[in-house]
Amino acid sequence: MLIRTKAARALAWLALAALAAGALGGCGAASGPAASGMAVQPDQTARPAANPLDDGRLRYLYPAHSSGGGTLLRGAEVLYKAAPSERITLLYAPDEAAPAGWQLGKNEAEGGRVTEVYDAGGALLWRGEGEWQAALAGTMLALTPGGFGVDYGPGGATGCRLIDTAAGREYALPAEASGCIPTAYGQAVLTLNSDPEAGALEGSSVAVLDLATGEEVYRVDAAYAYRAYGSERLSRCAAIQRCETDPATGEQNWFVDLYDPATRTVYSRFETFCGADLICYQPEPGRYEVCRLGETGALASYDGRCVYWRADAALIGRDDGYHLVTPEGEQPSASTYAVNGEEAAFLLADGTLLLYGPGGRSAVETGLAGSISQTGFAGDYWTTLNSVADGYALLYTSDAACPDGHCQIYSAAGLVYDSAGSGYESLSYLTMGPDGPLYAASRQGVGGGWLADVVDSRGAPLLTGLAELSAGDELPEGVLAARRGFTRGYLDLAGNWLYSESAFASLADEDGAYYW
């Protein structure tokens, strides 16, 4: 629903509108959705006795040939196999690694579109006509009209809804709400399309509401809010994009503030998450502080933005590039680094690779100084750090011998593997194997297609001849998403299918996806 009238800016906050569970469109205990129109017939073969997929986590196997469709699983169990006209979306709650639920958009037999939202256990939380984008936080369910979600930006369609699924109550939001970020702290962060005639951002405001009192606890105009992603997952915070116009010059400057609903703290001029629950922000222009989320006491202060911080190393970005600050001092670094939980890898301008892990720091000489620069390119050549895992760092680099690039894997002991001459075009980290990290190594297949092998850190193949190989949707270690031949699904490292289905999922495969 689009509200074209200029709504009053004051929030017409009403007391909680207690609604019957039924009025919320089917709240309460309910089983999962009825099976899709086409029958489910997974081709499951060679399943091991203990299936590592059996962890109860929701997973979505994306469709191969369509923008819609796909297969939803809980653990190794198929929950729903969607038709090409249906859209499945996993819903992640803040600070949670596993999806808290999922939503399904589908067509009704009698016409019209409906949206259904389910929790991770399969209970129907909400069902309503139209296409909605759901967001979950604790027991709170926010619904934004349209398929583009709560991060749409300013100028979106109005008519957001907010429901406490545990209490079966819907909160009366301002009619001009075009975005609603739910929190687990009794607040909601709204984007209000309060003056559509003024332009997208100028007519947009952000308001933080205390749901218990109905009070507006924070407000900023010429702004919109979106969910902030931390270094590893969706954070509990809302990012607020705002624009300041310099009264003297008329110049517009864009900033992001970070609102933490747990502490009701606004971090002005937020820069970035720089570690797990670590943020960098500018409390005043030119001074960049690192602090733990929820606190304001600075762990460190710099004259440039800190993109990665740990007690013994910080990567600082300035106009002249990135610099690694260590107890020994500041060192110019390549504009590339890799982080993986407690691990980090940095490449210094002199070619030294620093590997940080739980056990401390290792320095490795790569000999790549000639292809390293602050911009990533040094003349005709370049080097980038792709990943670090279990003490192994994967680099892409180019040189005179391989101007199109090759991959190198380093450990603390030095160079472990170089893909030059192997036929592999690129490597990317996949998962942990029994003896260390495993990589997807892509190569040209017959007839112009591409294949991928699973290789270890020395380039030795474990599985070959795969397509669509990826680490999937946070799969357990040692499990991969792939297609082999005309079968696709989840594989273990011995090549057994843990879940599989035909690559030909629909009679409409030839009809293709919609790109607009």
């Binding site: 979600g149 007839g447 112009g448």
Partner: protein
């Protein structure tokens, strides 16, 4: 999956097409607007006359290939037989851009990485595009498939005549009871305009006859929105849809479907091979007419007409032409 993102509409607009063009895709023997490369002659290194596949190309030499979805298993089998690579690995390697885009990639866009098509017949608008582009292609039928009609297995209707099918898709027959079925409205699904099945449907069944609008439905688009597109067959009790036989029988193979007999003839490999099933059509191998003698694409093109090539087509489950 190889995809071309230039839409048909935008491409047509760019060229300002409108002129009629010579038809491609005629049945029969080698059909070229340029010089023939000697269809039917085996490559020097192949074992002409031998049914056993003997690789004559290295995997690196195999030409870039594109085609129809229903040709994916054939492409993989040809890759395996002509290069010796493992069949499963060849199957993993196949990526096609589907019928209309495959023709356009070779015949309109000039994709230099595509040297060979294994493909069903092009839609008329693509034939016009290719003619306008002036690209000379050489093609020959290598296999035969059929347009088949699908209903839910619980539908009591077993067979329809061509006239009854035309009545359904013209909207003249709107209830299954008119055709010996239940008292239920007929929901007649069609396919996307670019699909090989829709092309065959129009060519083999509709011709110049009346065709009602296809049912549409909302479907997700890649950018997060919804588009109103041709509704996909949903196997509901009163639905009827269509595809090509090989895809339904060998690739999709879902339970709950039943193929209708047409004019009393069930679609099978045998009835298709014998021409008894009434809605048959060839599919094709296509190369550029100027493909050099001895080039990998011409070697494969020629090999497909040898005994080994025909054996390859049969091994993959198709009916050779």
């Amino acid at each position: 999956m190889r995809k071309t993102y230039l839409s048909r509409r935008s491409f047509l607009a760019a060229l300002g097409l409108g002129a009629a063009a010579a038809l491609l895709g005629g049945c029969g023997g080698s059909n070229s607007t340029g010089s023939s490369g000697g269809a039917g002659s085996a490559p020097a290194s192949s074992l002409a006359g031998a049914a056993e596949a003997a690789p004559f190309l290295s995997p690196e030499e195999f030409p870039g290939v594109d085609g129809s979805t229903a040709c994916i298993p054939l492409i993989a089998q040809v890759m395996a037989d002509t290069t010796g690579v493992d069949l499963t690995e060849a199957q993993s390697s196949v990526a096609v851009s589907t019928t209309a885009y495959a023709w356009e990639n070779m015949g309109v866009y000039g994709s230099t990485d595509i040297g060979l098509l294994l493909v069903y017949e092009a839609p008329d608008y693509v034939k016009e595009e290719i003619a306008a582009a002036g690209v000379e292609l050489e093609q020959k039928p290598v296999g035969r498939d059929a347009l088949v009609f699908i209903v839910n297995e619980a539908n009591p209707v077993q067979s329809l005549t061509l006239a009854q099918l035309r009545d359904i898709y013209a909207g003249r027959a709107a209830n299954w009871k008119e055709l010996g079925g239940a008292d239920a409205p007929i929901v007649a699904f069609q396919r996307g305009e670019d699909s090989g099945s829709q092309t065959l449907f129009k060519k083999l069944l509709i011709g110049d006859g009346e065709l009602m609008e296809a049912p549409t439905e909302l479907a997700p688009a890649s950018m997060g929105g919804l588009v109103d597109g041709v509704a996909a067959y949903n196997n509901s009790a009163n639905a009827i849809g269509f595809s090509v036989y090989y895809y339904v029988d060998q690739m999709y193979s879902q339970p709950g479907l039943r193929l209708l007999a047409v004019e009393g003839v069930e679609p099978t490999n045998d009835t298709i091979a014998a021409g008894e099933y009434p809605l048959c059509n060839e599919f094709y191998a296509v190369i550029r007419a100027n493909a050099a003698p001895g080039s990998p694409e011409r070697q494969v093109y020629d090999w497909l007409s040898t005994e080994a090539g025909r054996a390859c087509i049969e091994k993959a489950g198709y009916v050779p032409a």
